[in-house]
């Protein structure tokens, strides 16, 4: 469960969380890039940005933000796309969807806010058992 209730929520706090989210997302993309860096057929590249304007941002008068998406190619073929869905998630600290030809995987950060991320991945066929999102898991899918 998110710890929002334990910390004072104000504009500064919400703004910090948005910045932290954008940073965690870009760090994850870099990490994924490093996972495939030894495989020349794979290429990770940043895609377009998507709009982020969540309930707490509106409530505290923050402007909409843009969050980067990313794409993973194998040769010329797009094999996975990463789309940040939102930061404020009940029970998690952000969600990114990973679209693949075999379905949409949900990647959530199970860490507490402002802590090192703990990315977990849930497959489209099994929403119950998440696995830590790792190089091994990614390459098993793509």
């Amino acid at each position: 469960m998110e710890l929002e209730a334990q910390m004072p929520i104000n504009k500064v706090h919400v703004s910090k969380r948005v910045k932290d989210w954008k940073l965690r997302v870009t760090k994850l993309y870099k990490e994924i890039g490093s996972w495939v860096s030894d495989k020349p057929e794979y290429k990770m590249s940043l895609g377009g940005s998507i709009r982020m304007y969540e309930e707490l941002m509106a409530k505290y008068g923050l402007p909409p933000e843009k969050v980067q998406t990313a794409d993973l190619y194998k040769g010329d073929k797009l094999i996975a796309s990463f789309k940040p869905v939102g930061l404020w998630v009940i029970g998690a600290n952000g969600r990114i969807d990973m679209l693949t030809t075999s379905g949409s995987y949900t990647i959530v950060d199970n860490a507490d806010q402002f802590q090192a991320p703990k990315w977990h991945m849930y497959s489209p066929s099994d929403h119950r058992k998440g696995k830590p999102f790792s190089k091994h898991e990614l390459l098993a899918i793509v």
Binding site: M1, L78, S81, V89, G91, S102
Partner: protein, 139 residues
């Protein structure tokens, strides 16, 4: 649908990609409402049973009057007992489970009134939470 969305993205067909994305979100909403309806049923049934049980107990004074009122309302106009009050009969209102029911109920209401999620829902997390709540609100 994921494959189609990916294909639209690879071809730069933004509108089509957005349309598939929207459909994915709608699927999540439909599944969430279905899952929540099971919890909703559990809370209604459980709170009804609790009221019946307490009404039948040999209580006295104010304690008896409270359950007499709830028993009457339950039988004459069940909807007059608000859903979150029913949840409060089954789990402490100051506890985390109650807060979780409240948070998901808000999302359910938003969708039921033609809107969408007011915050992001991770379906694996929501399913796990709703299953936990289903057990936790047992009468």
């Amino acid at each position: 649908m994921s494959a189609e969305e990916l294909e639209a993205r690879s071809k730069g067909r933004t509108k089509k990609e957005e349309s598939y994305q929207k459909k994915r979100a709608q699927n999540d909403q439909a599944y969430f409402v279905f899952m929540f309806s099971r919890l909703e049923g559990r809370i209604k049934t459980g709170s009804d049973a609790l009221i019946d049980e307490q009404y039948a107990r040999p209580l006295k004074g104010a304690q008896k009057r409270v359950w007499d009122i709830l028993y009457k309302r339950k039988n004459e106009n069940p909807d007059s007992i608000k859903f979150m009050d029913r949840a409060g009969l089954l789990t402490p209102m100051s506890g985390g489970d109650f807060a979780l029911v409240k948070a998901y109920y808000k999302e359910r209401n938003s969708i039921a009134h033609g809107g969408s999620f007011t915050i992001t829902i991770s379906m694996p997390t929501a399913i796990s939470n709703l299953k936990h709540l289903y057990s936790a609100v047992r009468h």
